[in-house]
């Protein structure tokens, strides 16, 4: 006697679509700028801050902001720049701040993972600012600007 099985819906096994690449570049912490390890430690500490850490009702640092901060640190050409100051940002973000002679750069990781920058330059008391969205981390122009090599 032969048994037959009828599926309620046709059984059509699908092969998983091949992803463009299974591999991503791994950057070892020991290969990064010496200060990057310290930054990773600091943002990990900030990511553990509770709600209302600023006493003004801020959300805790979001997972999206924390992940993007790590991506920022791993993908940016930070060997070009000195150690930044790092801090949590009210609302659930994280911030990096560099200051060189007359030039000031703030990178703000927003709670949703978007990254914004604010460049401020002061020449003889005249302050000029430029802000924008940072969409790629490999672009070196921001860092050359900070080093004074770009206007």
């Amino acid at each position: 006697m032969s048994a037959s099985v009828v599926f309620a819906t046709p059984f059509k096994p699908k092969l998983k679509q091949q992803r463009p690449s299974q591999w991503s570049e791994i950057k070892l912490l020991e290969d990064a700028s010496p200060w990057v390890t310290g930054c990773v430690f600091k943002i990990s500490e900030f990511a553990r801050l509770p709600q209302d850490w600023d006493s003004h009702g801020s959300k805790a640092v979001t997972v999206d902001a924390f992940k993007m901060a790590l991506i920022f640190l791993s993908q940016s050409p930070l060997e070009l720049v000195p150690e930044p100051s790092v801090s949590p940002v009210p609302g659930g973000g994280l911030g990096f701040h560099w200051q060189t002679e007359g030039r000031d750069l703030e990178i703000e990781i927003l709670p949703d993972g978007q990254v914004e920058y604010l460049k401020t330059v002061s020449v003889k008391g005249d302050v000029k600012s430029e802000e924008g969205l940072l969409e790629t981390f490999s672009d070196k122009r921001l860092w050359y600007w900070l080093a004074g090599e770009l206007a």
Binding site: H97, E106, E131
Partner: protein, 121 residues
């Protein structure tokens, strides 16, 4: 919606204090200190400050968190950027004020931060 009135009894020379996390202040090689612009950012878009001459650091810190510091800013800086200093007294804190409207403009927040100094206690 009530109209927010710039407090006439708060002069341009009055100092306003704000509690900020100490990680938002960094020491520069020349010994000066810099405050990051997000010190003037707020989750609820209500920027709280305290009129220095009507309070004490202890009272301002009473509602704060460990590791916070006080920074001071002249009212004139806030007004010169187009904002009002509006009284917003709380039951136990008549010195409480708000900067209105909430500064969404990053360069404005940076200008406030650049003009702020840490209050030595």
């Amino acid at each position: 919606m009530p109209e927010h009135i710039d407090a006439v009894d708060i002069s341009d020379d009055d100092i306003l204090w704000r509690r900020v996390d100490q990680s938002m202040i960094e020491r520069n090689p020349d010994g000066t200190e810099s405050l990051q612009s997000w010190a003037y950012k707020d989750q609820n878009h209500e920027l709280s400050v305290h009129l220095a001459r009507e309070t004490t650091p202890q009272l301002v810190f009473a509602a704060g968190k460990p590791g916070q510091v006080l920074v001071g800013l002249r009212a004139q800086i806030i007004r010169s950027l187009g904002y009002k200093v509006v009284r917003d007294p709380e039951p136990d804190n008549s010195a409480h004020c708000l900067i209105i409207p909430y500064p969404t403009n990053k360069p404005h927040r940076k200008a406030m931060a650049a003009a702020s100094v840490r209050v030595k206690i």
